[in-house]
Symmetry: D2
């Protein structure tokens, strides 16, 4: 049986200490819960609702910080790129390159990421049906991607609201790729907090449990030592201890799923 | 810890033998899986898409069949009413009176059911937000209902499609009432099969697992010895053996949820 | 060229004076604007969000008031029924019997209305695709309805919000029946006002102009001498003078549509 | 009274002759209909559903073709960019720079376009509420844009379907910017045609009439001499003669709106 993925970290790179704290903590939690841990943080939030929001340290400094996390904590790292030229420098540090949900239809971005030879995690657009993610997979495959992951992060449901359609997991696993559930972005309320996305942290755990019970290959979650002080996505980030508690329950549900052979291809 | 409900049976009453077969089989399954079983079948499908579809034996004959099931198999029974005058005769046989989803805003129907003194199961309308089911609960409470259950069966998502928003379960459990997940109607594709509702049976099990992992007080499912021959909702009804397999997995997930105290009020 | 319909009146029958005032005013406006006027008010709001809301005078008193309006003002009247037994008494007064949107899938209600021999106006459910209203039309036709009208009143769009999909008008006119746009219910925000439906009156006029420009056979609108004092649907009802201003613009748009032969079958 | 905009042309630049034919024809039509005409075609379709679809001549050749159209036909031109570095070269030819709907949240792209000093047309994302386009406008304003236009092109409505919420026009005009309705992309069915977006051309005209009746500052439409042979968006492009007929009706509706002072700020 495969070991499930845990992709977790602060939404955006703030200072190195916070990154290291998250990485160390989550690495240990993942070990206990039986997940393969990958550290994630963005070096640039290129699509904040508002111009005045914090965007991150940028490509160069950000990659340097990610390299540090990788070395000091001994974990693989993943981050997202926004323009094709970023793929190559990013691939020198990142173990997996992520395509943001809003950009999942940008052919050149997928191709650039795929051509680096690193695995690519394509987030499902909030406006793309699960069936149509097949075409994103095809684009990455056509460019020789070494590994493709799809991540669900909620679908547009009326205004300023997302819904997670749990049917998306089996539909997309059917393409022959591992599927990850992004439990924290899925509870965002886009634009719902006046110039920023709001979020409903209380739904992170129920949705994560649901996704694991349906059958997914991994879970993504934003974590932060002090979400109230987070420079991005505070309202939906999990405090570290809460993330730990959740993971231990997910482990148990995952055991039921594995034992019953639900995830077999 | 409370024992979860299993409400199951054929969509509509066809002949007594099928009803008895379903009831006997599901009673045994429920016992093994640790669910409290209630037999459900409709005596009248009052809102079929098309005029020519089978509607059922009607109130009188239907209640007589339900009484027979109750006596012969020794299980409580639930069925749905469509007009206020049906509440009283129905209450003489039914252990729980059900309000159909399309009718969950019909004040008089809820009041009539509540006034019988029997518990009332109100299905959530495909057009009602989870928060607004509070007003349906209030109506039933105001009329002195002896017990109120809410049932989720999917929400309108574009045309001819429903989505199950798993956030609905904790939102509605917050009203202080047990919440049931209707796993088979939730996969209907309304009107999607040319004059009838289509359905996607392959999603029944994943959604049921998800709901139990989120935390619900019970599961509803339509079952049939031979879904292909069912006179109603065949495309989304579960064959008996498949229902059994599903229940045994739900039992395991439910154990995880109970053990971790997720369902406590 | 056919003359378009104007169906208008207060949401619910309050006292006779308000009904008469609305009917007289709108009759005159309709004449100026070139619409055939029909007075509408409900005798019972059977599906208010909250139990404590005003429901109306009931069937008997309500029909008496409608008869009075008919006689004193000299206009046809329309109202909605909620249970099959109401069809016959209603048909003795009403010129058109209306099926509420929530009840548009209730076969017996449509059949009972259709069998009276009076024309039937079926409101499109907030959960029914335009294509699937065909089955409602078929039910009414099968029962010998003397005339069938379909009315659009918005479709479920996320939670607590409706959207008017303007494609619905040509799709439903294709069934060979006249299609009316309900401009005031379409701007409701179901449950959005804490135990009552909110509404956005500022969108009534733009949506009504849009519907006429697309091509409809009539317009429905709730009007009230003093919407702030209305016992139902105040937030989306139009004051009489505003309704008049809107009608005069709709007349001009309708002229463009008629001149260009857009409404021909 | 302001003159409304007509932005029209083939979806993507194919060969120069087709571009010139469209530009000449639409320029004349616009003159007759009282619209200010701007030629539009993409030099690169950077987000086709499928990898194998035609993408266009690319930036350099595309801009050269657009310059030719501008010179030979004497019309301003607009096109869309996909990465920030394209803004400067594009601004040397384009009279207006367009931000694609999928990219309307990409801060750097909006800033780069705004900083060129050319007006910017930001298409509303299929996942962005009308209120939240305010933040896109603020980003462009903050970067000193010389003129900002917002374009509606439909909103995600379930899977593989878009809906035009006509309330979006007054909501966005309230930001103090002109609002254009993209009548042909709005009838797309994303992914609905097996590896390509389908489209329902029959709804272009009704939706365009509706938008003008609501009140917009301009109309966008894809046109093609032979839509069946179009290398992109054939199913929703209008043949030239059909576009002409539509424009002449829009002119009449626009007259009603202008005369009644509906578009005043």
């Amino acid at each position: 049986g495969a070991t499930p993925l845990l992709i977790a970290g602060p939404c955006v790179l703030e200072d190195l200490d916070i990154a290291l704290e998250c990485a160390r903590f989550m690495k240990e939690v993942a070990q206990k819960a039986g997940f393969n841990y990958i550290f994630k943080a963005s070096f640039d939030k290129a699509n904040r609702t508002s111009l005045s929001s914090y965007r991150g340290p940028g490509l160069e400094k950000g990659l340097a910080m990610l390299e540090q996390v990788k070395k000091e904590v001994g974990v693989p790292v993943i981050s997202d790129i926004h323009e094709p030229w970023q793929a190559e420098p990013a691939a020198e540090v990142l173990d997996i390159i992520q395509i943001p949900a809003f950009l999942c239809r940008q052919t050149d971005l997928i191709l650039a990421a795929a051509r680096t030879g690193q695995p690519v995690n394509i987030k499902k657009g909030q406006f793309v049906s699960p069936w149509d993610m097949y075409y994103a997979v095809e684009k990455a495959r056509g460019a020789g991607a070494q590994g493709i992951i799809l991540t669900e992060r909620g679908y547009t449901f009326g205004y300023r609201n997302l819904v997670v359609d749990m049917r998306a997991f089996p539909i997309m696993r059917n393409f022959g790729v591992p599927v990850v559930f992004d439990a924290t972005h899925s509870v965002q309320l886009p634009g719902g907090a006046g110039g920023a996305s709001g979020g409903e942290r209380e739904f992170v755990a129920p949705l994560a449990r649901a996704a694991v019970a349906v059958g997914v290959d991994g879970i993504f979650m934003e974590v932060h030592p002090e979400p109230k002080k987070a420079l991005c996505d505070g309202p939906n980030s999990l405090p570290l201890e809460e993330a730990k508690g959740l993971l231990m329950i997910l482990k148990e549900i995952y055991e039921v799923i594995r034992k019953n052979d639900i995830l077999s291809p």
